[in-house]
Symmetry: none
Subunit: 126 residues, 2 copies
DNA sequence: AGCATTCTCAACCTTTCGGTTAAGCTTGCC
DNA sequence: GGCAAGCTTAACCGAAAGGTTGAGAATGCT
């Protein structure tokens, strides 16, 4: 069964876990390597990874004695969709909403001056 | 200071709070009215509202003895931008989405004189 | 075989979360 | 003034979150 929004948002609410996701954006990693930059025990990181996996945000595959962690960005889609409409698409015209989405997603979108990446930024751009 | 991603995602991780946000999408509401459909005490709902307000997701304004709760969709922008960094799904332009919602929801709504500052600049709190 | 590496599990601890009830503070109305 | 309506605060409670340490299970290396 697909992870609930509860699970996904809760997983995202911890800065360590968001940092882990950011790291995995660059490459798949072994558990030990994920844990290396953090000042906490390996067991703690292992628990965080379980939480991320339960939320569907990563998958883990064991090869030999190494367990590889892989980002699953699709898991964010449900949360993203909810946020975009606060879950109340039925309250509005769905056709119009879909047309709106089509336009939004197809455009290169010039009007993007976003601030705010005080936390671990998903992409480094310095 | 702007609420952290920690605070925002944590606020979104509770189903009661997400339901409250959905209700507020339709209209501003008094605290008692927010609490009405839930099977928990008014005090519990009041706490949830504090959490949502701390996350910047709602604002509360007291007029007389009634405290009105108002959705602040802008607060989701930070979270949306962070999630957008993971690619795969394109984050939607929230401004445009709001404009879309405004058009879709505008007509059949009487007595909404408190709706004036939808486009007001973001206020600081704390 | 023996040992190191990699990771999880179990037990434990402290803090936070989400709820309760009871009391109290404003505010509006008669 | 007196009372009801509308919320918040305080004290409390059980459960869950997030960390620790220590032991243990696989696996790979020599």
């Amino acid at each position: 069964m697909a992870p609930s929004l509860d699970t996904i948002f809760a997983a995202l609410s911890d800065p360590t876990r968001r940092a882990i996701l950011s790291m995995l954006l660059e490459d798949d990693m072994a558990v030990t390597d994920v844990a290396e930059p953090f000042e906490m025990s390996l067991a703690a990181i292992s628990k965080h990874l379980v939480i991320l996996a339960n939320a569907g945000l990563i998958t883990q595959e064991k090869r030999g004695r190494v367990k590889w962690c892989k980002l699953e960005p699709d898991a964010l889609r449900g949360a993203s969709v909810w946020m975009q409409g606060f879950g109340q698409f039925e309250a509005v015209n769905l056709d119009a909403f879909e047309r709106f989405l089509a336009v939004e997603l197809s455009d290169p979108r010039p009007d993007r001056e976003e601030d705010q990446d005080r936390d671990a930024p998903p992409k480094e751009e310095e």
